[in-house]
Each structure stands twice: as structure tokens, then as C-alpha cells.
């Protein structure tokens, strides 16, 4: 953390509570930090104060750590297939081996990388599109607003899973990048709708009028005045898109629409199902990757509870209404 971050513009006009209120939330050193960092720190404390969000952060941190240190903690190479085939769990192979003789645990640990990558990449891209489209649609008036709103609604009503499947079927090379792209195309509209609604209410506030009268360009009004007031909604739409991306990726890969040589939880389930793992009693090969997907999706949703509490005090635990 360094001082030059002041210029990033987290401290919008509507962010209330001056530096005087800061020390009671955190260490005394906090009041010496630049204001945007104080705001960020208080946001983190509010999220952490939510018990559910705390569980989510812990689960997410464990999964990220496992993904980052995969080569260190995985017992074997995920591609090595020189073990016995379909071995039951043992000391050497905690979760057994696959039908083609690969270590299930090692594949599971390395698989975290792909799922997390897809979650974050698709989340970030969807959010960027949602911000650009949503904020401008909410800020502009007249024909442009109607047109953008129409396109957003169109993407909202076209059913996501069938669209994902149709798009993925037409594309011949189906790497992780294609999956991210398909998930983004079907996933940005929810965030755009929420951000658009919030922007159109903020647009009528006095501080926006003041900025306009002082001659600021529309781009600056949107990104420096309006956007900082929606940080929590932006975070929520990122987490929502990331959760949808995790489940979307798993579904596509399970259906065989991914690249089957990718090491990910979705393809693990694809191979387990194709080698009839359940019928041969290899149920761990189904249980483990699915549980990891469910835990990742759950942790993202749990963090979202904390973020909801940021933007809506009524949802805070302990009921501060």
C-alpha cells in the first residue's frame, strides 16, 4: 500500500464519515492513511464483520492458496498416468486414481487454477462491460438510454445456458479462453441492469448537477463522480458474474464442450462420467470435484452477503435498522 493510490478516485462525494470516525474501527495508524485507503479499510472491516462473509473469505483464501501453490502441495504431477488404474483411496493416493491411472488429488489441486482463472477472468470482463454499458445507459438520456436499455434487456431474457451451449458448439477450438468468452457474453447483463438503475437515481443528485455545471466532461462525471458511489454494486456484480462463470464452465465442460485435456474440475467430472465412475464404485471422482465447485460458488456468494451489507445497512447482521 502506498500513497500515490490517492489518485484512483475511491473517495467520492457521497462517501460519508470523516477521518475522525476512523480510529474506532481499526488501528490508530489508520487515521494517517490517505482517505481512499481508509474508506477501503472500513469497507473490508464491514464485510469481515459479517459472519457469513467471513466464512466465504476463508474458503476462498484456502482455494486461492491451493491453486497458487499447486506444484508444491500436489503429491504427483497431474498428468502422470503411471499409477494403477482406478485404485481406491490409500495412503499413496488419498482420493484414489482415475480410470487412466492419474492421481485424483493432484488433478483436483491443479484443477483449482482453471476454475479460479475462469471465475476471475469472466468476472472482471463481465464487470467491465456491465460498468461501461450500465453507467452510460443510466447517465445518458433519451434515445441512447432507451436503445442501450433494450439491448441489455434482450441479453437478460435470452436463456443463458442454451445460448452458451449453442455458441460453444459452433466454435471449433474450445480452450479455456473460448469458455471465458462464452460465459462473459451470457453473463454481463445482470450487472449492467443493476448499475444502470443505480446510475439513473444518482444522476439526479445535487453533486452530479454541481459537477456538470462546473463544466466537467460526461466521461469524468461518470467515472469520477458517479462510479465511486457504486463500488459495492460493482463488487456485487463481479461476484455474481464470477459465481455464474464457475457453474457455467463446469456445465460446459461436463457436457464435453470444453477441451477435454484441460485439467479442471469440470473436465474431471466429464471423464469420471464417461468412464462410468459411479457404476465402478469410484464415487470419490464425482464427489470431490463437484464439492470443490460447490464450495467455490458458495464462498463467492457468501462474500456477497458482506457486500450487500455495505450497500444496504438493513442487511447487516445484528439488525442496525
Amino acid at each position: 500500500m502506498s500513497a500515490p493510490q490517492v489518485g484512483l478516485g475511491l473517495g467520492g462525494p457521497a462517501v460519508t464519515g470523516g477521518p475522525a470516525a476512523a480510529p474506532e474501527y481499526g488501528p490508530a495508524a489508520l487515521s494517517r492513511l490517505p482517505r481512499p485507503l481508509q474508506v477501503g479499510w472500513r469497507a473490508i472491516l464491514t464485510i469481515w464483520a459479517n459472519g457469513k462473509a467471513r466464512i466465504g473469505i476463508v474458503i476462498l483464501a484456502i482455494l486461492i492458496l491451493a491453486a497458487l501453490s499447486a506444484p508444491l502441495i500436489a503429491p504427483y504431477s497431474p498428468t502422470a498416468s503411471n499409477f494403477g488404474q482406478s485404485l481406491p483411496p490409500s495412503g499413496a493416493h488419498w482420493l484414489g486414481t482415475t480410470g487412466s491411472g492419474q492421481d485424483v488429488l493432484s488433478r483436483l489441486i491443479f484443477g483449482a487454477r482453471v476454475s479460479l482463472f475462469v471465475a476471475f477472468a469472466a468476472g472482471v470482463l463481465s464487470t467491465i462491460i456491465a460498468i461501461t454499458v450500465g453507467v452510460f445507459a443510466g447517465y445518458l438520456r433519451g434515445f441512447a438510454e432507451e436503445t442501450i436499455g433494450f439491448v441489455v434487456n434482450l441479453f437478460l431474457v435470452i436463456p443463458a445456458l442454451p445460448l452458451m451451449i449453442v455458441l460453444a458448439t459452433y466454435v471449433p477450438s474450445r480452450g479455456v479462453d473460448v469458455i471465458v468468452l462464452v460465459v462473459v457474453i451470457t453473463g454481463w447483463a445482470w450487472g449492467a441492469r443493476v448499475l444502470r438503475a443505480q446510475t439513473s437515481t444518482l444522476r439526479n443528485r445535487d453533486f452530479v448537477a454541481a459537477a456538470e455545471f462546473s463544466g466537467e466532461r460526461p466521461g469524468r462525471v461518470v467515472f469520477r463522480e458517479i462510479l465511486p458511489n457504486m463500488t459495492s454494486l460493482v463488487a456485487a456484480s463481479f461476484l455474481g458474474a464470477a459465481t455464474a462463470a464457475v457453474l457455467g464452465e463446469a456445465g460446459l465442460e461436463f457436457l464435453g464442450l470444453g477441451n477435454p485435456s484441460t485439467i479442471s474440475w469440470g473436465t474431471m467430472l466429464f471423464w469420471a462420467q464417461n468412464s462410468n465412475a459411479l457404476l465402478t464404485g469410484q464415487w470419490l471422482q464425482i464427489l470431490a470435484p463437484g464439492l470443490c465447485i460447490a464450495l467455490l460458488a458458495t464462498s463467492l456468494s457468501l462474500v456477497n452477503f458482506g457486500i450487500d451489507a455495505l450497500s444496504n445497512p438493513r442487511l447487516r447482521e445484528g439488525g442496525s435498522r
Binding site: 431474457v157 445456458l161 445460448l163 455458441l167 464425482i286 439488525g319
Partner: protein, 325 residues
């Protein structure tokens, strides 16, 4: 402008746009899906000109101008002429869809309604008992189960109840040795086959309704009229259900309308695991066999159903909530 007329215009415009998107998807994709389709179809025997024309119109084999292709496509779509499937040669795409629809409508339709009702009631309960054990279990449990991929829930249920315990059949919508009819024995058999798929959709789908309703309800409980009702000494149940829940339900109705529209698309991932003879499984088979005419037609039918359901809910919403008129 009259709001109903405005909504109608918007609906027609969205319908047109969705149908047009469906027209352009295969044309924007790499390769020529139309040629691949014709080549596969030719493997089944000679193609008559009408079949060829239908495929050309759907998948965009370049012949004629784009405008004339587009008109042919609109004309064919409006009359349900989607050509011939080559996965299920020589059945037409329309008859395949018509045969799959009843299975999906009954199974997914019933479960969607059950999940909505049960999830909403649990959401009301969680918000009313906020911060207590019931709330924590319902919220965390609902978050966890809504993170279950549908196919994973399906596989686990299949393993435990069909494979290990042998309580339910492993796959299909009815016993393999009978053909579909409307006798009581057949209906009972079909219901028996649908227990595990139904349970799957219920488990994975319940959480979303629960969480949505809980959040709406907590917001509504903070409103003055609820405090006023409590201060008047009304019974807790009356306040929760007659005052708060009725209003908290409104935003969820839009989502319920979309879910009802999505019923037509079936629950693809669930139907695939159970090889259930519905629309989702048909779409999956179209995809794995690269049966583009079938796939495009299914996508069109699913999208149009969602749009129509959405429009119906939109109109209904105006009746239920005077503020939205």
C-alpha cells in the same frame, strides 16, 4: 402513451431482435455449419429441394441475397418449418420438439412451481426469525445448495438412490419395454421415473428463491407500515404473511415469470444425467451430434417461450402493483 401498448411494442421489438439474433448466430460463426449439415444429411439418402431450402434458410448456406434468406427464415420459423433432423432421420425437427415438450413441461414445470413456493416460504421464515438458528441454517444451507451444479446433484442422487439402494430407476422417462400412452399404469411408471430428476431440480433450485425472498422481506420488514401493524398488536403471523410477505413477493414474481418461460428449455444438465426424454436432453443430443437445424430450432423455441412468459408477467405485474402502472 398507454403503458400496455408501450409494453406490447417493446415485446414485439424484443421478439424480433431475438429471432434475428438466432438468424445471425450460425452466419457469424467460423466455418459453414450449413454445408456440414447438408453433408451429414446426404449420408442418409437424397435430399429433396424443400429440405434443402429449409436448411439453407436456417443455417445460411450462401445462396440468394442475405435479405431473401432472412425472409425465407422468418417465413419458415413462423410456420414451424424447421427442416429435418439428421440425428433422428427422417423425423422432422418440429415433431421431435412436440414429442419432447410434454415430458419437460410436466417435470420441470411442476418442480419450478414447488421450488418457488417452498423457497419463498422458507425465505419469509428466515427473514422473520432473522439472526436465529433457523435463519442461519436456511441462509447458509440455501447458499451452499444453490452452488451445487445440477448435474452433480443428479449424479449423487443417482448413485445413492438408484445404484446403491436400488429404490428408483437409473435412467429414462418410462420403462424401456412400454410405449407412451395415457393409461394409469404408464402415468404411475412415468411419475416413478421422474422422482430423482425432480429432486435434483428442487435441491439445486430452491436456494435462489429462498435467498431472494429473504432479502426482499428484510427490506420490507423495515418499512413503517410493518412497524405500524406490529404496534397495533396484530399477531406476528398476520404481520409476516398478510403485510410484509405480500409486498416482498413482488420483485420475485418477475424472476418467477422468467423461470416459467425457461421451463420449456427443460433442465438440460439434469435431463442429460438421467437420459430423460425432454427438451433439454434433445438439445444435448443435437449439440453432441452437431445437428444444427435441431439446435437452432430448439434455441428459437426456448427463447420465444421465455419472452412470452416475461411479457405475461410484465402485464400481470401492473395489475398486482399499482405503483408499476
Amino acid at each position: 402513451m398507454n403503458p400496455i401498448i408501450r409494453k406490447l411494442i417493446l415485446f414485439v421489438a424484443t421478439l424480433w431482435a431475438a429471432v434475428t439474433v438466432n438468424f445471425f448466430i450460425p452466419r457469424l460463426m467460423p466455418g459453414t455449419p450449413g454445408d456440414a449439415a447438408l453433408a451429414k444429411l446426404a449420408g442418409n439418402g437424397p435430399i429433396n429441394p424443400a429440405q434443402r431450402q429449409a436448411i439453407d434458410a436456417t443455417l445460411g448456406v450462401p445462396h440468394g441475397s442475405l435479405v431473401s434468406q432472412y425472409w425465407t427464415y422468418l417465413d419458415n420459423s413462423a410456420h414451424g418449418r424447421f427442416g429435418i433432423s439428421y440425428t433422428y432421420f427422417p423425423q422432422t425437427v418440429s415433431s421431435l420438439i412436440l414429442h419432447a415438450l410434454p415430458w419437460t413441461l410436466v417435470l420441470v414445470g411442476t418442480v419450478t412451481v414447488i421450488a418457488f413456493v417452498v423457497g419463498t416460504l422458507l425465505g419469509v421464515l428466515a427473514a422473520w426469525r432473522r439472526g436465529r438458528a433457523v435463519d442461519t441454517v436456511a441462509t447458509v444451507g440455501g447458499t451452499f445448495t444453490s452452488g451445487f451444479p445440477y448435474f452433480w446433484t443428479a449424479l449423487l442422487l443417482l448413485f445413492v438412490f438408484a445404484f446403491k439402494l436400488n429404490w428408483f430407476p437409473i435412467k429414462g422417462g418410462y420403462a424401456a419395454d412400454v410405449s407412451p400412452n395415457l393409461s394409469l399404469a404408464f402415468v404411475r411408471d412415468a411419475a416413478f421415473h421422474s422422482v430423482l430428476p425432480a429432486l435434483t431440480i428442487l435441491i439445486s433450485g430452491l436456494g435462489g428463491w429462498l435467498l431472494g425472498m429473504r432479502n426482499n422481506m428484510i427490506n420490507t420488514l423495515g418499512e413503517d407500515y410493518v412497524t405500524f401493524a406490529e404496534a397495533n398488536g396484530l399477531r406476528g403471523r398476520t404481520v409476516a404473511l398478510r403485510y410484509a410477505a405480500r409486498n416482498a413477493l413482488l420483485p420475485n414474481l418477475t424472476a418467477f415469470g422468467m423461470a416459467l418461460g425457461l421451463v420449456v428449455g427443460g433442465s438440460l444438465l439434469t435431463e442429460v444425467v438421467f437420459a430423460y426424454p425432454g427438451v433439454g436432453y434433445l438439445l444435448y443430443n443435437a449439440v453432441v451430434n452437431e445437428d444444427f437445424p435441431l439446435m437452432q430450432a430448439l434455441f428459437l423455441v426456448i427463447t420465444v417461450s421465455v419472452l412470452v412468459a416475461n411479457f405475461a408477467v410484465d402485464l400481470l405485474y401492473g395489475l398486482l402493483d399499482p405503483r408499476a402502472r
